[in-house]
Every structure is written in C-alpha cells, then in structure tokens.
C-alpha cells in the first residue's frame, strides 16, 4: 500500500490539469517527476479520477518509453546514442558506466538506488558529442575517463 501522501500529491496534480483524458500524459509525467517512477497503484487511482479505464491508462503508460513502473535511481544518467554521438564513439561511454556501476543492458538501476543508466536517442547537443545527461544537466565531450570522474563527483554530491 502506498502512503496517503502519494494520493494527496496525485490529487493536487490532477486538480492542476483537470479531470479529462488529455490530462493523462501530463499527470503521469508530473507524478514521475516527483517520485522518479510511476507507482502502479497511483496510475489506477488517476485513471479512476479522470474517468478512463485502468486498461486505457496502462495502454498509454506502457506505450511511451519515458514511463517506468520501476523505481529509478537518484541520478538518472542518459547516455546519448544519437547519430553524432554514435559516430563519435558513445558505446564505450555506456560500457564504462555499466562496468563501473555493475549494471547491464538488463539491470538499469544500482541496488543502492543511486544511479539509473539508460540510453537516449538524441539530447540535441550534437556539436559536443558524445554527451550524457544526468537528470536535466547535459555533460559534453564525454570519455570513459570522464565517466569515472562524473560518478565520483555524483557520489560525493550525495553525501550532503
């Protein structure tokens, strides 16, 4: 069972966007923005509140890559694998993150819930390829060495 505070938050977000189907995606985005994932129970609640079926809500949530029913780490690291980054060798960057954090193509989040590593198709900073986005901050001209520095920095960051 989710804590009541989750439902209160959902009510607040639903009230902002209004009870209609067109609000579904923005509501899910905001919920995910707060909790870093989309708790299933909450989606069911949202569906009921805005007057659509649970099946409909799930069909939409599962269609879009951005929605996750699994909790994500504090730092969501998106390694860009757009054309420009791919040509400028983004694969070793991804591998460096996975190796350092003990992750793989199947396991995206570290057990301590600190890091989630994913790929993204383009961050729009192609001039500075290869790039990586941590939460909403873009890091330019990455190298496998800079990956280690970045992880180190983020780990230090979280102490305070």
């Amino acid at each position: 069972m989710l804590d009541q505070s989750y439902y209160d938050k959902a009510d607040e977000i639903i009230a902002f966007y209004g009870k209609k189907q067109a609000s579904l995606i923005p509501i899910m985005q905001d919920i995910q923005g707060v909790y870093r994932y989309l708790p299933g129970e909450l989606l069911t609640y949202v569906a009921e509140q805005i007057g659509i079926t649970e099946a409909k809500a799930y069909s939409v949530a599962t269609f879009y890559e951005n929605f996750s029913f699994e909790a994500k780490g504090k730092y969501i690291i998106k390694v860009c694998d757009g054309t420009a980054c791919h040509v400028r060798k983004s694969t070793p960057i991804l591998e460096a993150f996975q190796k350092e954090l003990g992750l793989s193509a199947k396991k995206h989040t570290t057990d301590d819930m600190m890091f989630t590593v994913e790929t993204v198709s383009c961050l729009g900073a192609c001039g500075l390829a290869p790039t990586v986005m941590v939460n909403e901050e873009v890091h330019p001209r990455m190298t496998p060495e800079k990956v280690l520095e970045l992880i180190h920095e983020l780990r230090g960051d979280s102490d305070d």
Partner: protein, 626 residues
Amino acid sequence: MIENREDLIKSQEAATREFSSYDCRILVCSGTGCIATGSQKIYDEFLKIVKDTPGIRLDFAPHDEATHMGVKKTGCQGVCELGPLVRVQKGDKTVQYTKVKVSDCKEIFERSVLGDDVVESLLYTQKGVKYKSPEEIPFIAKQTRIVLENCGKYDAESFDEYLASGGFSAFRKALFEMTPAEVVDEVDKSGLRGRGGGGFPAGRKWKQVARQPEKERYVVCNGDEGDPGAFMDGSVMEGDPYKLIEGMMIAGYAVGSQNGYIYVRAEYPMSVARLRHAIAELEKRHMLGDNILGTDFSFHMHINRGAGAFVCGEGSALTASIEGNRGMPRVKPPRTVEKGLWAKPTVLNNVETYANVPKIILKGSDWYRTIGTEGTPGTKTFSLTGSIQNTGLIEVPMGTTLREIIFDIGGGMKDDGVFKAVQIGGPSGGCLTEQHLDVPLDFESIKKFGAIIGSGGLVVMDSHTCMVEVARFFMSFTQRESCGKCVPCREGTKRMLEILEKIVAGKGELSDLDKLEELAEMVKSMALCGLGKSAPLPVLSTLKLFRDEYEEHITEKKCKAKVCTAMRRFIINPEYCKGCGKCAKNCPVGAITGVRKECYHIDPEICIKCEACKDNCAFDAIYIEA
C-alpha cells in the same frame, strides 16, 4: 498590459529606446550546448563583475549619465563546438569570444568591455587567421539567417528584447492591416514549404483548414524533433521562443483558430522552460488570451511534453498523443487538415516553418522568394555534426551545395580525415557522397539520389565510419521506435535488422543482400506512416552507394573502417613486442600465448576482441588489422 494597437506600438518604441541606450552588451550563449559547457557560470560571473563596478547601470534610466550595460543570455550563437561562447557588443561592433572560462571573464571585462581592446587568445581562429566579429567568421559569414536571426543577439527570455528586435510587428500587421484570407494568401504565395521533412506547401495547408465548415480549429506545432543528430528546432524553441509563438498566432488568426499547441520532445527541458516562460510573459501582458489587442481575435497557447516516442513526430500520432492516447499513426485520409486534433481541422507545421512566418508577413512573399530556389524558397537550418571542424547550428539558403556547407561553413574535415559521406535526414534519410557534393540542396534535387532533406540533420562521416554499421545503427533505431501498428514496419524492420546484425557479426551471406533489398522495398511501399515508409532509406541508400562495403563484410569478413568488432583482428607487432607477457596475463580468455622475451601470439579463434591486451600494452605493440 497591452490592450490595443497603440499600446503595442508604444511598448515597441519603449523597448527600442531601451535597447539603443545600451553602451555595451555582454551576450552569453545559453543554448543547450553552451549551458553544457558551463555558460551559466560565465553569465553569473559577468553579472557579478558588472554589479561590483561603480558607475554602471544594468537597468534602463533614460536621463542617467551612468554607463548602461546589459548582461544577456542569448540563443545559440552557432559554433557549439567552441563553447561557452560570449559576444561583447558595442553599437554595431561585436566581438565573438570562444571557449570562455570563468577565469577569463575579468580580462574580457577590463580589456574588451571597459577598454576597446580585444582578448586575442579567445578569438575564433581558423587556418591561422583570427576573427574578431562574428560576421567575419566564415562559419557565420556564409550563412543567411532568417529563422535564427535573433539567436545570439537578443535575450531569449525577454519579451521587451523580442519587441526591440522587431517582434510582433508582423502580428500587428496581420491583425490590423490584413484579412485572414490575405494572410493565408501571402504565405501561399511565398512558397513556404513545411520544414519538418515532407516539404508540403504550408500555404496550401492553411487554405484547406480555413475553408473547412467546422469552426473549431487548432494550430499545432511539431516540436518533437526526434531524429538523432538534429537539434535545429530545439535551438529555435530555446533561442527565440517568441518568434515561434508569433508565427503560431499569425497562423491562428489566418485560419480562425483559438488554440495553439506545441508538442515538445521530452529530452528538451530547456525548450519547455523557455516556451512556458514566454507564454506566461505574453499572458501577463494580455498578448495571449481573449480579445487580443482589443480585437475579436482570441488565442490560447498550450505546451505538451512528449514522452519518448519517436513516432509522435508523425502528424496523426502527435495529435493522438496530445489527446492522451498511445501515439500511433492512423490511416489517412481523412487528413489532418480535415480531421486532426480532436477530429477538428488542424494546421500542423513544425517549429522552423512557423518561425519563418513573421518575416514573410512583414517583408512580403516577393522578398521571401528572392531567397532559396524556385521550387523551395527560403532558407533551411541544419545541424552540422560528425567528423567536421566546425560543428554547430547553421542556416543557409535552399540550393546551397554540400560542398559549401561542409568545406566553407564547416571548415572541412576534422583531423585531416578523408570525406566519405554525409548522412542527411536521419533515420528517414540517406547518404550522399563525393559525387553529390555540388548538387544544390532542396526538397526535390536530392530525392533523386535516394536521400531526403528531412528535418535537417547533417552528419559528416570520414573513412573511420563503417557504412554497414551506420545502416545497422539507423535500423536498430527505427525498429525500436516502430509503434507496432502495421505489420510491414513492425516485422519488416525487425527482419532487416536481423540481417544487418548478421552481416556486421561476420556471418552474412551474399543472398542476404537481395533479401535485404526486397524487404526494404516492401516496407517502403507498404508501411502505414511516414516513419515506416522511410525506415528502409538508410539501408537502400548505403546498399546503392556502398555495396562493395557490404560485400567485403560478407565475402572477405573485412571491415575497412575497423569498426565492426567481429571483424577486427588483433596482431602483435614483433618489432615492438618485448615479450613481457603482460598481454597474456590480461587476456580474459587465454587467447595469447608465447615465451618470455620473445614475441607473443594472439589466437584469432579464441580472441573475443575486448582490447584488454591493446589498451594495456606498454610498448604499443598490438594493433588492429581490418
């Protein structure tokens, strides 16, 4: 509050007065690229320095003797590769600085802002020549900027600065001096074509919407720039958000719509933030809302964030997504102009298309037609990336050749590489090679060669790029992004990807190439939407131009570019090998054997090509043979 035409004119005059009173403006690039290289800190530092200097005012006071100075965050200044970028502007003289560090700010301020000197070491340098003014830099000098005109000159967030740049003059003209039909006509006559890839005449679209019997209509902007390697629309949204909104407002007036929607890609948080800010500023001044400027025209703007589905760049998928559905395309007709968003007549254009509209209304269709080619007037923005000297955002007249773009503007190949191909149009496009360098680029000209302008991503490739791998890369992208609704795309792209993976892994057969071609033609002709129809283009284009590379991968198991891992052979050079045995120890699979102090040997049958030996060899004795 701006309640009528006179208010708007007065505000424009006041903004212009303030703008021209600046003694000096420090313009810090705040595009996604420069923010990533730390331009926010540069901005903060300049602001601090200016505030700490006596006798300088940041705000405008008409009769004050103090120096009036501005520290502004602008849209993309272009040469993203050399960020953070800063310009110091005094009157009509501007100096462009590149790779500015926080520690450089003081020197720039003292020598270039307070004094009239320049900091030589931070100037843009190409082939030994240093350039002061951005207009002189070949990268910028050879461009024609309409859509990106304001980027790098004005504060991207400020309504007043947009007014000072001439903003909303076009909207004012449309609203008070033209009928909606005249606006549609002007856009139609200009020959403006959709810049999202299709190249459909915008005026014709507007006309069709305007004559629908249904009165509830929508204006929708496609800002779901999903093509990997393209960032033009993102740069416009974050660099000149008001211009896009003005273009949409004019469209709203022209077709009789009261609501505009911008669908922005989820990966562009800054575009979302700047657009939201701009909308709030306009609403605050009653430039958006009911009865704008005291007329009957009402217009409301809404922002929708994408949720990570490439297919939502397709019109009917995009409107489905705004409605809160799965973003899947539907069978057409009915077309979007008849039944678009919520099954109402809808004008759907992309960011760049709308951003062209204000200038067309203001300066007229005849002026617009003087730029570009007969069939495709105007300019096109491209994001220039890959193995090239100057990467960044450019805008050139339609009809510019690739040679001009790559060698004049782009400064030629990076690290003296050899030009091999340019990939144009992303996962829906194709490749062009040496033989196409002098073809004037417009919608028709390059279609003949199996490529498309698409949204405008240009990725330059040199001899270190394997074209088979590039085809596999794009196919894996489209396969992943296929929405699964129609069989040709869902299954076809999957089978094509399997074949490409097989070839890249060194297990291909020559008959695979025929199968690949057959599948590609099938998907191209039978898929439901544009995404599926164009998905095979990268394969068809590379098969046509680089069939030898495919064959080499299959018959000789060789990858010239040394990219395909399965085909790389690791060799120990006996001249350099000292026989230390470190590689044998590092090899995780025991593929390396040998006797101490003699040259070691790698067994290619066992080797997994992990590079552990090569990376750790103290004598650089291990090399890769293609």
